[in-house]
């Protein structure tokens, strides 16, 4: 039984008030709040187990290493990776994608090549490819988005050419809530021999992702969007591809041996983990995974579907509201992200009026300027839900949206 009032009590941040009113946090697509279990794990690590990993002979370092590597095993199981070597810790989705762009990209992308991405990418899955394309004189090609926010998958065949060397695609849009049909897309790319990188930052927190079943070549996500600490993220990569890739960053722990003029690389996954890693954060991410598993991702997904359907029905009755992205009826699968505008009210004014009511929402371009441009807007308001939100909060959100409309009418 999914008991949201009980879940909410696990998150100490909700004990506070904003402008004298209970905090209503509708910005989980930006970052999620942290349950006590994660906070306690961080505290426990620093109080009892803190040491550098893979270095000390002493017990404390061995314990820290075991906790760090234990977190890797939790991640491996959580995303269905076959091998531990395929799970690389990074600082987050952005670093994960940059790692692939620098290491795999620099080795494999040549002048005239094409990198296929989509119009709904987050800047973190656009800019690293732009940098690479400029350096290598390659070209970025965009799979378009339809008016209802769904990817125009039927144009995929046309855009996939002999020049295409990589497909980099978002799993769930952080603006439209769209869940892209990745299995079908990845299979198609693979028939042409094209590897696929998936930005899963908005997917892993909300439903069960199995990278082996998806058969993607790379999968990137962040800890802080799935109840874990900031500063930790993951790059999953197929072992045979990772083995062929040169290092991304040089430094301690990523080497086997260093001479004055040369160095040899450590084994996977450590080849890509240079310097002291965010050890406590990795352990904290492990605790977040334990928490999510206890609640059950299937339950979280079902509950989010209920919330988004409820919000959709209510918000469309507010005068002047435009919603971006498919309705829950149009999209079989849709995450709990709702981008909207109110006519006559700038999104930043919407966000300020929400803030006065103790409601945190995002306003702006959501790091997806090409997508917003495609919809002819510079900014939108965005509410995003997670397991700790409830219908009473959505009622307050609707009431406040009405109020915003009235103030500027």
């Amino acid at each position: 039984m999914f008991d949201v009032s009980k879940i909410k009590k696990d998150f100490p941040i909700f004990r506070q008030k904003i402008n004298g009113q209970p905090l209503i946090y509708l910005d989980s697509a930006a970052t999620t709040q942290k349950p006590q279990a994660v906070i306690d794990t961080l505290k426990d690590f620093y109080e009892n187990h803190n040491a550098n990993t893979h270095r000390g002979i002493y017990q404390l370092s061995e314990r820290a290493t075991a906790l760090y590597e234990g977190a890797r095993e939790k991640v491996r199981q959580f995303i269905g990776a076959r091998e531990l070597e395929e799970v690389i810790f990074t600082s987050g989705t952005t670093e994960s994608i940059n790692l692939v762009a620098y290491s795999w990209g620099r080795k494999n992308i040549k002048p005239g090549d094409e990198i296929l991405i989509t119009e709904m990418e987050h800047h973190s899955n656009i800019v690293p490819w732009q940098l690479l394309a400029k350096e290598k004189k390659a070209k970025l090609v965009f799979l378009p988005v339809a008016d209802n926010g769904l990817l125009k998958v039927d144009e995929f065949d046309k855009l996939l050419t002999a020049k295409t060397k990589l497909l980099a695609i978002i799993h769930v849009s952080n603006v439209l809530g769209v869940v892209n049909p990745l299995k079908e897309i990845i299979a198609k790319a693979h028939t042409e021999g094209i590897p696929v990188l998936v930005d899963g930052a908005q997917a892993v927190p909300h439903f069960s992702v199995d990278v082996s079943e998806l058969d993607c070549d790379f999968y990137a996500f962040s800890g802080h969007k799935m109840l874990g600490p900031s500063g930790i993220g993951v790059l999953y990569g197929k072992k045979e591809i990772l083995e062929e890739m040169p290092p991304f960053m040089g430094g301690g722990d990523m080497i086997k041996e260093v001479t004055k003029q040369d160095a040899s690389w450590n084994d996977l996954p450590w080849k890509f983990e240079a310097g002291t890693m965010p050890v406590a954060q990795a352990v904290g991410l492990g605790a977040a995974i334990d928490y999510l598993k206890e609640i059950g991702l299937e339950n979280i997904w079902q509950y989010e579907q209920e919330l988004i359907a409820y919000t959709w029905d209510k918000i469309k009755t507010v005068p002047g509201v435009t919603i971006f992205g498919p309705s829950p009826k149009e999209a079989k699968e849709r995450c709990g992200v709702l981008a909207f505008n109110v006519s006559g009210v700038h999104p930043h004014d919407i966000a300020s009026i929400f803030d006065e009511a103790g409601i945190a929402i995002r306003a702006g371009h959501h790091c997806a300027q090409p997508l917003l441009e495609r919809f002819g807007v510079k900014a939108t308001a965005r509410a995003s839900f997670y397991l700790y939100n409830d219908k009473a909060e959505i009622d307050k959100m609707i009431e406040t949206t009405n109020k915003a409309y009235k103030i500027f009418q």
Binding site: H348, I353, G364, K378, K403
Partner: protein
């Protein structure tokens, strides 16, 4: 629900019916500023009379109500002001016009027009 503290009537009025909105031809001073965070954009234009006092002022741009209302209020305030009076204008003067406390994120919106004016004055004094 409480009425809004931030969006008092005067702000809404200036945002919806901005004063001195538009462009003037052959301005003596013009400068455009934007706030990349919000996408707010304001260009301010001035014409001076023979005593170097503002006799014509206009702004145009787009953005949130705070940036637009602050620009509207500022253009009203500076009409007839001398160059040295313009140079003395401070952030606090604009915040006094807005009249309600702002969060740090909205402060940038409120001060965008003043920033455009100040940078325009700097360029103008170099001429």
């Amino acid at each position: 629900m409480r009425t809004s503290d931030l969006y008092r009537e005067e702000i809404i009025d200036h945002a919806k019916n901005p004063r001195n909105f538009g462009k003037i031809s052959q301005p003596d001073l013009e400068h455009k500023e934007n706030n990349p965070l919000c996408g707010d954009e304001i260009e301010i234009q001035l014409k001076f009379d023979h005593k170097k006092c503002v006799y014509q002022v206009a702004f145009h741009g787009e953005g949130c109500s705070i940036s637009q209302a602050a620009a509207s209020m500022l253009t009203e305030k500076i009409k007839g002001k001398s160059l040295s009076e313009l140079e003395k204008l401070s952030s606090q003067d604009v915040l006094d016009l807005i009249g309600t406390p702002l969060t740090p994120a909205r402060l940038k919106c409120a001060l965008l027009a003043l920033e455009a004016l100040k940078k325009g004055l700097k360029d103008f004094s170099k001429q």
